[in-house]
Amino acid sequence: MTQDLIYSVCGIALFGIGLYGLIIVPHILQKILAVNIMGVGVFMLLVAAGHNPGGVSDPVPHAMVLTGIVVAVAGTALALSLVCRIGELQRDGADEEAAP
């Protein structure tokens, strides 16, 4: 098994693990983490595709991964901020219910 194949296989395995987390695990924060794991899996596959044994590796997948990381950060941040706002609203609602 060559190096690039090991990385590719692990990348796809990570994608599968993330998919499992997103669909099966009920906790919302774990779901958001799962999406990030899926992203890392895809990035590994991309980097492996750019691996060039004995030569200069292909910079295009590296650039794609860098862009992908920024996009993943943005998506994660938006998800977390939505979770925070939902949590606040739910807590406010619970406070109102608790008040006599």
Binding site: I32, M38, A49, V60, V71, G75, V83, I86, L89
Partner: protein, 504 residues
């Protein structure tokens, strides 16, 4: 022509909304944001129409390609336009223009308006970017702008159901994008290029391209909300602010459908199997029937309109079996694309009008509970008229654009010898009639309860809101009367170069 080159206009379709987004972030005064946005939407519409009019002169596909940075594929990123893309760009710009006018009057809270305009323009960047895209990874980035700005726009509503719908929409959107990106990674691994035209030349029917097409399809189906994957659409589209719902249902879901059509019929057509094409059609037929049934059972007006979107999206997927290269000659494939493109335009106008009308009703009545809308037509005649006209187009009654679209679809289905798809289209039309008339019946018959009437006398709806909803409804009728003009444009523009029998 006087030196006006089609190509040089293409990057402006992305740059103009980008600059508008930055300007609306920087401008503090809301009335300035609003008028600037309306003016720039008009400019965008003018730009898109110019592109549409210049397109017929460019039969050579190289003349419809713009190499950003001058590098050219595969090193650089290209923009590419054809008739299908140009029509969708023009539709986006036209519907976007009317929605901008509506939104200016709709958002009167400072905070919401200050967020709305930048997000709105970034949504336009993404839509225009997708219709012009010629690079698989560029599509991923554009899809993310589209998904994230759409989620942020849904969350503008600020209520708990809206935020929950937005979060679910976001997770589904991220899942879809990552499936798509995994497909692209496999394609890059196999063929070493990201340019769609080069992929089309190199792709072969082999396991790797099947897997890539499968992943890309699942990712885009999630975003297009085709039947088994539609669960996120009704809550997200029905809890968003009215102009956002209109844009999401009218334009945003069409962007991912457009990409699906590109990948299945053009870029990866060698990997597309007849079974897959038939399956997409079958899912579409199921969506038409089940989505309509859900719309009939919906209790809230905006939810009804959202389920109607699920149903109407189903029709679009009839493109795949009808344009199947094995089943049909190139003539029929082109006719199927004509029909579906027409359907997209007619539905974009009709559904946007319907959501705006529903938004007006919700705003005036303070709720959108269908049972309690008795006699509302007396209070909001223009909005109900807009709802009715848009509904007629969804049902497929003449002289609306929906009628022409459905007629073309039936014609193609019969010509290609697949009459069962025609039965789906007719059945869907009948079901649409049930849910549209259910609302109209209540709205025109009976008198509103006194409490509601009192409330509504106090709340005057700004004129702009009802007039722009009606203008969109009017566009569906105009589409019906000017069918030949639109179809000519589609034919001349050589939509999906594969279907026109031209090599990419």
């Amino acid at each position: 022509m006087n030196g006006l080159q089609l190509q040089t206009l293409l990057p402006w379709l992305v740059a103009l909304p980008l600059l508008a987004a930055v300007a609306t972030v920087l401008l503090q005064r809301l009335w300035l944001c609003r008028w600037l946005s309306v003016a720039l939407s008009a400019a965008q519409l003018a730009l898109a129409l110019t592109v549409l009019l210049l397109l017929p002169e460019q039969s050579d596909s190289a003349a419809r390609r713009y190499a950003l940075g001058g590098w050219g594929a595969p090193l650089g990123i290209d923009l590419y336009i054809d008739g299908f893309a140009a029509l969708l760009l023009a539709t986006t710009a036209a519907v976007g223009f009317l929605l901008s006018i509506y939104s200016g009057a709709y958002f009167n809270e400072a905070d919401k308006a200050a967020r709305f305009w930048p997000l709105w323009w970034l949504l336009m960047v993404a839509l225009n970017g997708i219709f012009l895209a010629a690079d698989a990874f560029n599509i991923y980035v554009t899809l993310e702008i589209l998904g994230l700005s759409a989620v942020a726009l849904v969350a503008l509503q600020g209520s708990l159901p809206a935020l929950q719908a937005a979060l679910r929409y976001l997770l589904v959107g991220l899942l879809g994008s990552l499936c798509y990106l995994l497909g692209v990674a496999l394609l890059y691994r196999a063929y070493g290029t990201l340019d769609l035209a080069q992929l089309a030349l190199q792709a072969q029917a082999e396991p790797l391209s099947w897997a890539a097409l499968g992943l890309i399809t699942v990712g885009l189906l999630l975003k297009t909300a085709l039947l088994p994957l539609h669960f996120w659409l009704p809550p997200a589209h029905s809890s968003a602010p009215a102009p956002v719902s209109a844009a999401l249902s009218g334009l945003v879901v069409k962007a991912s459908f457009y990409l699906l059509a590109r990948f299945w019929l053009e870029t990866l057509d060698t990997a597309a199997t007849a079974g897959g094409l038939q399956m997409l059609g079958a899912l579409g037929a199921a969506a038409v029937l089940l989505g309509s049934l859900q719309a009939i059972r919906a209790r809230r007006l905006k939810l009804l309109v959202a389920y109607s979107t699920v149903a109407q999206l189903g029709y679009l997927f009839l493109l795949f079996p009808l344009a199947a290269p094995l089943a049909a000659g190139p003539g029929i494939a082109g006719a199927a694309l004509d029909a579906v493109a027409y359907f997209i335009i007619a539905h974009a106008c009709a559904k946007a009008a319907m959501f705006l009308a529903a938004g007006n009703i919700q705003r005036a009545a303070g709720h959108d509970d269908i049972e309690r809308l008795q006699g509302i037509a007396r209070r909001l005649p223009l909005s109900l008229l807009a709802f009715g006209v848009a509904g007629a187009s969804l049902i497929g009654l003449p002289p609306s654009g929906g009628f022409i679209a459905k007629w073309l679809l039936l014609d193609t289905a019969i010509d290609s010898g697949q009459w069962w798809w025609a039965a789906v289209a007719i059945g869907g039309g009948l079901l649409a009639a049930v849910y549209v008339f259910r609302v109209l019946n209540l709205a025109f018959a009976g008198s509103s309860s006194t409490a509601d009437a009192l409330r509504m006398r106090r709340l005057r709806l700004p004129k702009t809101l009802s007039v722009s909803a009606f203008a969109l409804a009017l566009m569906t009728v105009l589409l019906g009367f000017n069918a030949l003009w639109v179809l000519d444009l589609l034919d001349i523009g050589a939509p999906l170069s594969y279907l026109a029998g031209e090599t990419p």
